[in-house]
Every structure is written in C-alpha cells, then in structure tokens.
Amino acid sequence: MAGNLDQEAHIADPESEEDFEDDEEEEEAEDWDDWSAEDGEESSSGLLCLFCDANFSSCSPLFDHCASLHRFDFHRVKEALALDFYGAFKLINYVRSQVAENRCWSCGLVFPSKHDLQDHLHETIDFEKVKPLSFDDRYLKPFLQEDSLLYSFDEDGEGEDDCPVVVDKEELAMELKNLGELSIDGDNLLEKAESSSGSIDGNVLKGAADVSSSDLNTAGDVRRVNESYFGAYSSFGIHREMLSDKVRMDAYSQAILGNQSLFNGAVVMDVGCGTGILSLFAAQAGASEVIAVEASEKMAAVATQIAKDNHFWHSPNGSINNKGGVVKVVNGMVEELDKCIQLQPHSVDVLLSEWMGYCLLYETMLSSVLSARDRWLKPGGAILPDTATIFAAGFGRGATSLPFWERVYGFDMSTIGKEIVEDAARNPIVDVMSESDLVTNPVIVQTFDLVTMKPDEVDFTASIELETSSSPTENQATTMCYGVVLWFETGFTSRFCREQPAVLSTSPHTLKTHWAQTILTFREPIAMLPRKADDTDKRSQGAGIEGSPAEKIHLRVSIVRAPEHRSIDISLEAAAICSDGRKVTYPVQIFNLS
C-alpha cells in the first residue's frame, strides 16, 4: 500500500523519468531551502501522512489521500471545529499522537496494530468528543521531530503557486512560543479584551479601563496592558478610521510614493504595520525588502493575507512566481524582533512608522520606533517621519459648553456648566477645536528630531508664552482664555524625502484628522488683552482677572509617561503676566490619562 502511494505522491503526472527527476530537484530546491541547513541529518523527504507511511511533496495530495483512504477530511474537520491556524496545528499533532498509540483519533478505540487502526478509520460524526482534546495546548508542541506537514498545511490553495507555501520554521516556532506564553498567562484582561474587541461598537475596552493605577510597573502589568492594547488594535474599526483619514493617508503616500529614489532597492522596516498599507506603499515604491512588524496576532495574519492578495508577499522559499514579493510580516513586538526573525543589526535603510497617538505621545509607540532605530537602522538611514512638533494655543469661551447651560428652556443651569469645567480641568478632552475658538497665536511646545533624540527625551518639560491673537490696534476688549489646546505635526522633511517632502498636520487651522486635538481646560479662565493695549490701570493687584488682564500667559507644560504603561501625564502650570510685569501663578493642574 505504502509503495504504490509513494509513487502516486511523487509523480504529479506520471510521465517520463526525466520529468520525475526534474520535478524532484525543483521541489527540493523550493521546499527545503530554509530548513535543511539547520539540521545535520537529511530529514525524510516531503510530508508524512498522518496515518500511514505515505510521503507527499505537498499537502494537497496528502490531504486528498487522508480523506479518501483514511476517512480523514482535514479541511472538513477544520471547518466543523472552526479551527484557526493554531487550532489546525494542534489538530495535526493530536491526530499524530493518537495514531502513535494506535488509537482512533475520532472515537478513541485502541487497536493492536497500526494496520488495524487503518482498517478501522471512519468518518467523524460526532465532533463534540474531539473538540476539547484538540484545544489542549500541549498539542502546540510538534508531535514528530521533523514534521514538515506542520509548516505547510496552511497552503493558499489558490492554485497559483505550484509549490507549497512553506512558513519560516523558526518564525513559526517563535510565534507559537509567544502564543503559548500569552495563553498561559490566562489573564482575565486578555479574555475581556478579546471578547470586547469583537464587539467594538461603543464598547469600553474593559481591559484597558480596568487596569488600575495601583498595578504599577511589574512586567506582568506591562504585559497585560500590552495585551489589551494589541488586542484592541486588532479591531478592524480603528483601521477603518485610520485608512479613511485622508490627511494622514495623503501625507504618508506622498512621502513614500513621492520619494522612490529613497525606496528603490531599499530594505525597509514598518513598525506597527496594522493592515500593512505603508509596507505595501513601500513595496510599490520599489523596496527590495519590507519587514512589516505587528504585535497584534490578528492583524499580523490579516496583513499577511493582504500582502499575498496583492502579490507583495515574500514567501520564504523565494518563490519564482512572485518576483514582486518583498513584504515579510512578522508578528511580535519590535523590541523582541530578534526572537522572531534573523536580521542583521543596522541593516535597515528606511524605518517607517505611523506611531502618533493623541497629543502625539499617547500610547508611547514612539519609544518602540526609537528602539528599532537604535537596533536595526543603518547609520545615516532614513526615518519617516523624521520630525514631530507639538503646538499649543489658547481657546475661548465658545469652545466650552458654558454658553449652552446659561439658558436652558429659559432656566439658568450655569451651575452645570461650572461642573463640566471642573471636570475638564482634570480630564483632557479629545475633540476637534474650531479655529474660530482660538484666542491666542499658536506656539511650539516641543520639537522632536527622530534621528537624534534619545529615548528618554519622550518625557519633557517645556515653557511657552501665549499672547492674544487680536492685533493691538483693533480689538481692545478683554478676551477670556479658558485653556489650551494641543496638537502636533510630523514632518517628512527633505532630509530624507528629497523629491517630495511632506507634512502631516493636525492643526485646528487645517482639515481635521482622526487625532482631532487635545483640550486642556483651566480651572479658572484667564483674562487677556493684546500687548500694549492697556497698561494704565495699576490700581488692582491681580493679573489675569477682568480688572487687570494679562498680556501674556506663561505656561510650563510637562508630558511624561505615566506609571500606567502606555499612558501619559500632562501637567500645566499657568502664570498670568501683565504688561507691567505683575504676575499671578495658578495652581498646577495634572491631567490624567489612565
């Protein structure tokens, strides 16, 4: 039986001997490039049947064989049990383990010999019995030493490639290890994140929200937050929003597709690739290799599929069919990249990432980009974007809801408006600010040069001065400044983007983006007048109040990473300064984002 099948398996179409040899050689070159080098011994040729000794060059005939001869329809079972990649992986190991004991994987009956088992094998009727067994994590470990089937069963099945898709073995092993670690952690938060990420419409990500500030800094807590963070990132809705953000997309596509001289033949790394859109742009721009790193398992799988569907995916065996295949998707955190793939340090020409969070720094993804820069980027290599700037401006009463609450159906509900302001003085508001509500000129709070900045410079303190935007000659009226609004810009400067530099701006003066702006409200509004407008009244002692409006507001702004992983703390210290130098300092306000 085995003998016949061997022949059947090896010869795709039973033609001449020459063809056979050619086929075999070709297959050898394609299939075993990656992993024969690692083991001294030559592993048994091809893929081993689950139930008998038959050998196959690819999994399609193997599974056909199992279905017809051993009544094991792999694809059907996979579907019936709704198994994902790892579920199928475990299934194969499980079946092999049962066969090794001469036990029917489906009904559990044991037989004296393998042949008896083979005679017995029947179609599975009751999947319920099998289900719990195949979910056991011990089957994540390959049952056979060298089981090439495990690395090829997830074939495309499109019929486009003749050669099977072979997954990078080490990469897979690493992914499995990570997966195993994650599930062993068995934390409620991960489950919550998983369950809520499936129902994202309006649902609070309980995992993130519930991590209290009392859980500080332990590796476990970092992991938990990371898991919720990465779990949530796999929710398709945010990707929809980001991909629909035209300002964002235009800036990046211009920076990449408009600078082909930078990308042509380059080795590119995309940190946090999501759906992989930037990697695909890079491939389109002529990159020779794109390493797309994504820590969310779900999104990494999606990015891989998208790259394949668009013929950009790099198959590890260097498939001849796919010359344009330059994109490799790696599932893992970029800080742990060396655990996932083999890559020479400082071998990347272009580091690409869309890392910006609310208020620029929320999410702390910048730290990951910098760590990638320090480890993987060539000296003199390009970073896109290469600059980032935080701006601030003061806003007026119209941007608050105070006016609304003053008269509600004829009633004075201003007490409620006050309550809102008090709350806003502790909590940042992410919302779109209308430029007509700004009362001061914009001012740069901090600039980051991504090429040279040190990792700890993501925490900073800056001093700025705000002056009213109305000119001294026109409006003499006092303006009340109710707080500051922060926004950012990132630059794809001509330092690297020589052909077409670009700027991504989230300013209230330009088209809105999904980042909107970040609104920080003062506990008390500060009265302001344009410079030189009024310095005659020296009787009042205060500054920044109606009687003696301030000429400028001096602000000390600090943004630092909070103890809670991925959160930031913003502190504001405001001082109102009159034209004659009188100054009133306001108590510091701390905005919590945890």
């Binding site: 419409d201 309006g202 609070v204 963070y229 809705g237 201003s414 007490t415 909590n427 919302d431 984002l593």
Partner: protein, 416 residues
C-alpha cells in the same frame, strides 16, 4: 434616555477611562453610535416582589451605572434633543390641570428639567429623585431658579428614598435604546407601587416597541465594500473581521423611512399603569412580514414610541392594546393611521420612528452577516426574544430567528 455619544463627560468629552479607547477602538465620535458604560446586574430580587416590600441592595455595579450619569455631557445631549424635551414639556402643559396644586415625583430627574417644567405648570410639590451625583447639580439649578420651595431634590435610588406623602403624578423619561435596553422602567414601577395614589397620573402612560425588516445597501457597502479597494490595495482579507465587527452587535444609527420594507410589527406594548417587573425579564414575539418591495434584506430595525395619556384625554386613535402586541402583524392600518397629526384632544406621542424627526435614540439595527435577497410580497417570518442577560441583568440578550425564501437563520446578540 441614552444619548448617541454615550459616554460624554462635559463638553463632548470622554471620561479618562475611555481616552485610550478613542485610538484603540470604542467610543469614536464618527461611529454611528457610542454608548455609556453601563455595568451592573439588576439586583437579585424576586421579580414578583413589589418594590415597597423589600428594597433591594444597591450593588457596586449599580453605583457604576449611576456614576456614568454623573457625566454631565449626557444631559446636554438629552436636553438638546428638541423632539424629546419639547414633547415632554408640551405633555406637561397639556396635563396642567392634573399637575397644578398636586404632588409630583420625577423618577431619574437628571438636571431636573422635567421637575422644573412641572413646577412651572403649578405643581404644589415636585420630588426630583436621582441616584446619580447629578442630583447635586439639580439641586443647585433649583436654587438658582428660586424653586427650592417647590422642587425637592432627593439624591438616592427610588427604592431607598423616603417620601412621606402620597403622590398624584409620576413623570419620568426612562426609555432606553430598543425601549427596554437598560431601561429605568423598573424604577418607575417601584415609584408607582410605593407612592402613586390610586387613579394617579403616569407620564408617559404607555410605550410600544416596534420592529421592521430593513434594507440598507449603503450601510452594508460602506462597512464591507470599503475594504475591496483601499488606495489601490485589495484589503478584502479584512472582510471576515469587518463583517464580524460591524454586524455582531446591534447598532444604534439613524435610518430613513425608505429603508423600511413594510409596516412594522409591535414587539411589546407597555402599559405603565399595569406593567410588572416580571414581564420585562423576557419579551418574546412572533412576526410575519410581507415585503413591499424587491430589495436585499439586511436586517431588522427596532424603535419605539411613548404616549402621554391622561384620564381626561382620549387615547390617540388606534391606541395600542395589550392584544396588539401578541398578534402577528396583519394590522397595517393601525400603524399608518397613527401617523396622522394628533388633534389637541388626543394624547401626545413621542416617536422615534424612522419616518419621524430624528431623536438621540435614533433606531436600533440588527444586521445579518449576509443579506438575503427578497422579492416583492415575499414573506419574512420568525421570532425575537429580548431577555435580561444572565451575565449582567443590565445587558440585554437578543435571540432572533428569521426565515425567508426557504432558508432559516438564527442570530444571537448582546446589547452591552
């Protein structure tokens, strides 16, 4: 009662806990809907027990629920819903003769706006009850408008606070998405059982939940087709995820009359004078629709209306009776006649129907993962059951069975 931008806190703001979520998934403003965090099981009390016999304990979950209402922005949203607020004010004015000189209880008063309207209408005394911290602000508002003699704000649950007199009128804006989701109706029942005089007035007096089959090709293509071409890239690999996320849970959004395939069916009728807690635990109905047009069937829409009926006012024509709710929908006439402008002697109706001006409740849509092509006059039938989730009684399980064109389906979802 739950605004479209759920967890607003102050001026279009989200409480700290959800700040991260803006980037990470939920509570996005551009979304068709967001929701406030509602957590907390209903108390584990005996459903048949009347509220006045044994006040159930206030759990941590209840506290969290009440806390979400302290976030003031929700109230801004609700007050700004003119259809809602104007209709309530008009209803109060219409019943002025039953309110002037009488004692009123406003269940879940929020900022106190309805209590103030009642005071304006001449109420002798208004007890404005709210368990959320917003009651503190309501008290300030009452003071600022010199109504402290008339309006007494009670900060606490209706189950716990004490009112030492009988009450003539109960007013409340208790309705949630899909009418019953997270509904405060239980508290209204409690207030009724504890304090309402026999023959007393309840506003609104009754409520009806409707459902209808809908077609919404724009929405479907918007969620799904988007992925086929993204800047020239084929991202259809996202489709399974996209469908799952877009259609797994009920979606609160606004649809138009044109989206509805035929006259709606009344899922549940609530008579606020007689409804019991027990009957709210699980609501079930069978339906049978005949599509009026040829279109892809994308799912079902749910909406409600409430009526402000009083003893002296004749019910709106075709006032729904208890029998209507249970029978299958072969009474299209009732619904269409309802749409005539009510004359002054008829009860006011606050409607959230797709053909009526939009409200912050919008409509609640349950989409199928795959649309079903439907011909004109084709039957769509099945059942729907809404029940309190065991996981959390403030959550609602929706079990939907539907059959059309010879194929049957079941869809389970949870409104969290």
């Amino acid at each position: 009662m739950y605004p479209a931008t759920g967890f607003s806190n102050g001026h279009r703001h989200q409480p700290a806990g959800t700040f991260m979520d803006k980037r990470l998934g939920s509570g996005r403003r551009e979304r068709a809907r967001s929701r406030a965090t509602r957590a907390g099981p209903r108390d584990s009390r005996d459903p048949d027990q009347r509220c006045d016999q044994k006040p159930p304990p206030c759990t941590d979950f209840d506290v969290a629920y009440f806390n979400s209402y302290a976030h003031v922005g929700i109230h801004e949203e609700m007050i700004k819903d003119r259809v809602r607020t104007d209709t309530y004010r008009a209803a109060i004015m219409q019943h002025q003769s039953y309110i002037a000189g009488k004692v009123v209880v406003d269940v879940g008063c929020g900022t106190g706006i309805l209590s103030i309207f009642c005071a304006q209408a001449g109420a002798k005394r208004v007890y404005a009850v709210d368990a959320s911290d917003i009651a503190v602000q309501a008290n300030e508002v009452v003071k600022a408008n010199n109504l402290s003699d008339t309006v007494i704000v009670l900060h606490g649950r209706v189950e716990d606070v004490e009112i030492n007199e009988e009450v003539d009128v109960i007013i409340s804006e208790w309705m949630g998405y899909m009418l019953l989701y997270e509904s405060m109706l239980g508290s209204v029942i409690c207030a009724r059982d504890r304090w309402l005089k026999p023959g007393g007035l309840i506003l609104p007096s009754n409520a009806t939940l409707y459902m209808a089959p809908v077609t919404h090709p724009d929405r479907y293509s918007d969620s799904i087709d988007f992925w086929r071409n993204v800047y020239g890239i084929d991202m259809s690999a996202m489709l399974p995820l996209a469908k799952q996320c877009a259609f797994e849970e009920p979606s609160v959004e606004t649809i138009a009359g044109e989206n509805v395939l035929t006259w709606p069916h009344a899922v549940k009728h609530v008579d606020c004078y007689r409804v019991t807690l027990h009957e709210l635990e699980s609501v079930s109905t069978r339906y049978r629709f005949k599509s009026m047009m040829r279109a892809p069937l994308h799912g079902f829409a749910f909406w409600f209306d409430v009526e402000f009926n009083g003893p002296a006012i004749s019910p709106a024509s075709n006032h729904v009776t208890a029998t209507f709710a249970e029978s299958s929908n072969d009474q299209p006439m009732d619904y269409s006649q309802r749409k005539k402008r009510p004359n002054p002697n008829e009860a006011l109706v606050l409607s959230t129907a797709p053909e009526d001006p939009p409200t912050h409740w919008q409509q609640t849509l349950i989409y199928f993962y795959e649309p079903i092509p439907v011909e004109q006059d084709q039957l769509i039938e099945g059942s729907v059951t809404l029940s309190q989730s065991k996981e959390n009684p403030r959550f609602m399980n929706i079990h939907l069975e539907y059959t059309s064109g010879g194929r049957s389906f079941v869809k389970e979802s949870v409104m969290r």
